[in-house]
């Protein structure tokens, strides 16, 4: 088969997600919105970890969309040991779980902590940094949909420049989220010197699965950042979740890379580079940048971010300058 689909038979690299016996750690009946990127991303990541550890995983979940839609009391969508405490303390709870397993000599059971961008970038940042600097044996996965979605799309530290959210409504000369704000969490994770940091996307499931499988069996703190579009908060048709995620990669705004011990070791080259406009124009949160007279000059601001990424991460096949 000459196609790069998920059940690609010719390369012998069929994904966990295309296996008819896949674990389905996050099962049906959850209450995620239609076309939820996070639900897909979480199933892919946790299924891959499950497969890589023969099912020996425990998951600690921060508050957020994922937690809310997967465990509406008294139901639960998870088919693995799963624990939720507070919004900000998932890394600390996971640290505790890992410590308990260590005490019981059961370190074959691997620990995942996961949350959205709200708990990762903002509310749980302190606990996360603590987990990293102690190099606790946990894989932290952030499903980044770039705002507080389940409370009504409020801005987070992950909201991209010029995006409209409920708290960054464009008005007159104000064009949405200020380009000077936000933070680069994968870089912050790398700065802690932890053994493994990577970014992944639901538009590249083989790559996502490979990174999870690798990370889950590394001892120490690992950080995986997964880009998961949100049809409701970003304002695009529910069918386009993968398309939007794919364009984010192809325009350079979401670079896929791996870092080991604070150094970037590889990045995924973009084989079909597109202008950022192709990505932005699909989303209503950027609609104010595209008037009747075509795209506003501010689109260039976003393009320059993409260009810088391409340069820094060698996304055009060049060397990584980071």
């Amino acid at each position: 088969m000459s196609s790069a689909t998920l059940g690609n038979k010719s390369t012998g690299k069929a994904t966990v997600q295309s296996d008819h016996n896949r674990p389905n750690t996050l099962t049906s009946g959850h209450r995620a919105c239609q076309g939820c990127g996070e639900a897909l991303g979480a199933r892919c990541a946790v299924d891959a970890a499950y497969r890589a550890t023969n099912g020996k995983i425990m998951v600690v979940n921060a508050t957020g969309c994922l937690e809310v839609f997967s465990c509406a009391f008294p139901e639960n969508s998870w088919g693995i040991p799963w624990l939720h405490s507070l919004f900000g303390n998932a890394p600390a709870v996971a640290t505790g779980v890992a410590a308990a397993l260590h005490r019981q000599n059961r370190e074959d059971i691997r620990v995942i902590a996961q949350g959205g961008d709200g708990s990762t970038f903002d509310i749980g940042m302190g606990c996360l940094s603590g987990m990293f600097e102690r190099n606790d044996d946990v894989l932290y996965i952030c499903y980044d949909n770039q705002a507080y979605m389940n409370t009504g799309v409020q801005r987070s530290g992950a909201t991209p420049p010029l995006a409209r959210t409920a708290t960054t409504l464009p008005h007159r000369s104000y064009l949405g989220n200020d380009p000077q704000t936000g933070k680069d969490i994968p870089k912050i994770a790398m700065a802690h010197g932890i053994p493994y940091v990577a970014t992944a996307s639901i538009a590249n499931i083989p790559d996502l699965e490979e990174k999870v499988s690798k990370a889950i069996n590394i001892r120490g703190s690992k950080y995986l950042h997964v880009h998961v579009p949100c049809p409701l908060g970003w304002g695009y048709p529910t069918s386009d979740t993968i398309k939007v995620a794919r364009l984010a990669i192809q325009c350079g705004l979401f670079p896929l890379f791996e870092a080991e011990n604070a150094k970037i070791v590889s990045s995924t080259i973009i084989d079909n580079l597109v202008p950022v406009q192709d990505y932005l124009i699909l989303q209503k949160r950027f609609a104010h940048l595209f008037g009747k007279n075509g795209p506003s000059e501010t689109v260039e601001v976003i393009q320059s971010i993409a260009n810088a990424n391409i340069e820094k991460y060698g996304l055009n096949g060049g060397i990584i300058n980071e």
């Binding site: 689909t5 049906s28 499931i205 529910t238």
Partner: protein, 540 residues
């Protein structure tokens, strides 16, 4: 509930929450019609046989081909592949080389002596076919496979019709024609050659139905002022003369003019060149882009050094020269007019290739059979003429005069004759909607250029035998987008955020409407457009 506070129920208990109730739009595996299949005059299921060929199941692929066309090796040589023009991959990185794959598999079939397997019980009905051309032979094949006894009467000394007497040997060699006809004879079809039917009513006694596939074998007469000298011949007479083993005509060895713009004109020009003509010119009344001949044939003729003089008609033929009127042609209105200018062209012989007509004398006694203004036999939607039980097809009825079309007529006529013989009404298959390029998701197809091979013959009458190797058949077949038909890529299964697609252990896929919220991601990410979103009213 025997659990402490805030401890949820057991694992995966959300399965009791049937989120399918949220749905307003509903995904459905639709199996649309690929454009190649839709456009094939013979109705081949090209997409299906390509999917088998890519798995190296050549025999299975050949069986699918021959469900619609008993002549894969011949069609792989002479078909004008409308399928490739329609191929959605043409808009991406070049159409799949369907024609050459068909030829290659057709040749493998001949080399391995693959036979047709007839499993239908004998119906006890007998069908007479008049004319053993592509349409008559195909009808014989289809009818025999449906269980009927078939006898063919053929006017010429060999069967094959225009495949043998209308197509030059450098495009299609006799060994291929013989091998593919033999396979039909081996089914038990009786072909009686050298049998001229002058009055159909004398022959049909003892038969339950008749199929008239007499082709269009008469050269259209030309109303021209001619003086004796240059040798004048009709293209089809020339081909017949060459084929029936007479000496090569010597009159074609100098300057030759061909009059006409169709495939026959090109074939005649290239034949004259191969017979030793020093200078070959084609005269055609409209522009080169308006020539009915296939573009590849025109290109090859030009490459071989044949000149095409467009926008000209022959006014008169004199002792050693031809007076030609230059024409003006309005492409939009399709109006030709003389420009007033003339020119004189020197020629030693002229070949006419301006059209062929049907020899309807065979039907003269049957008053109920109507003949159209164009001199073709009129048939109804079931391919039946005005006379009950007499059907017609191929070049003898109105339509495009290609071998592929002749086979398509035969396929339909055979179904209609079968229905007639069984006393039931013919019900055509309902065709699915054709899927266009925009409905595909090409993000999953890396660019992968078509394996092109030059099939241009050299300046002899020997066919240039070009085929794909087994490996190349597989690679080129795998380029097929599988438009509208699931090829088990598992994208829908992998991408569904609600696990609402079930993949069974045999790889088959099923939508679980209990949980499908109708987001449409499966349809959007289906590379081949096999899933469509429909209004939920009709489902569940």
């Amino acid at each position: 509930m025997n659990k402490p506070f805030a401890t949820v129920l057991g694992a995966s208990t959300s399965l009791s929450n049937k989120t399918g109730s949220w749905r307003t739009m509903c995904p459905n595996f639709a199996n649309k019609l690929p454009p190649c299949n839709a456009t094939c005059p013979a109705g081949e299921n090209i997409q299906l046989w390509l999917s088998l060929a890519k798995e190296e199941q050549f025999h299975e692929a050949w069986k699918v081909m021959t469900q619609s066309n008993p002549f894969p090796a011949i069609m792989g040589r002479v078909c004008y592949y409308t399928c490739e023009k329609a191929c959605n991959r043409e808009q991406f990185d070049g159409a799949v080389n369907i024609n050459l794959i068909e030829k290659s598999i057709g040749d493998i079939a001949i080399a391995n002596h693959w036979k047709f397997e007839n499993v239908s019980p004998n119906s006890g009905k007998k069908v007479l076919i008049v004319g053993a051309g592509p349409s008559g032979l195909s009808a014989a094949y289809f009818l025999k496979m449906l269980g009927h006894d078939v006898t063919i009467f053929e006017n010429h000394i060999k069967p094959g019709g225009m495949m043998r007497y209308g197509i030059p040997r450098y495009r299609l060699s006799n060994s291929i024609i013989n091998a593919e006809i033999k396979r039909i004879e081996d089914l038990g079809v009786q072909i009686i050659c050298n049998k001229r039917v002058s009055n159909i009513l004398n022959e049909i006694k003892g038969f339950d139905a008749t199929y008239i596939s007499i082709g269009a074998c008469l050269a259209t007469p030309v109303d021209l002022e001619t003086k004796e000298s240059p040798d004048i011949v009709n293209a089809i007479d020339l081909f017949k003369e060459l084929e029936d083993g007479k000496n090569r005509p010597s009159y074609l060895e100098k300057k030759v003019i061909i009059y006409g713009g169709g495939n026959t004109a090109i074939d005649a020009a290239r034949t004259a060149l191969r017979l030793g003509a020093k200078n070959v010119k084609i005269i055609y009344r409209r522009g080169i882009n308006n020539m009915p001949a296939h573009e590849v044939e025109i290109k090859e003729a030009l490459t071989e050094g044949i000149e095409i003089l467009c926008l000209r008609t022959i006014n008169s033929i004199n002792s050693d020269n031809i007076l030609v009127d230059k024409m003006n042609y309005d492409e939009k209105l399709d109006v030709l007019s003389k420009s007033g200018e003339t020119e004189t062209i020197y020629a030693d012989s002229v070949i006419f290739a301006i059209g062929q007509s049907v020899d309807i004398s065979v039907l003269q006694e049957v008053k109920s059979i109507e003949i159209s203004e164009k001199g073709t036999i009129k048939v109804d939607k079931n391919m039946m003429t005005g006379e009950k039980g007499i059907f017609a097809g191929g070049d003898a009825i109105l339509g495009k005069r290609t071998v592929t079309n002749a086979i398509g007529h035969a396929k339909k006529a055979a179904k209609c004759i079968d229905a007639y013989l069984r006393g039931v009404e013919f019900v055509p298959n309902i065709k699915n909607k054709v899927i266009n390029f925009k409905k595909l998701n090409t993000a999953y197809f890396p660019k992968d250029n078509r394996i092109t091979v030059s099939r241009m013959p050299d300046l002899s009458f020997d066919e240039r035998d070009v085929s794909y190797s087994d490996q190349k058949i597989i690679v080129e077949s795998a380029r097929c987008f599988s438009c509208g038909n699931c090829f088990h890529c598992d994208n829908c299964y992998a991408y569904c955020p609600d696990n609402a697609i079930i993949k069974h252990s045999d790889g088959s896929l099923e939508i679980n409407y209990d949980y499908c919220k109708g987001c449409g991601m499966c349809a959007a990410e289906c590379p081949c457009g096999a899933i469509e979103m429909i209004s939920d009213d009709s489902k569940v």
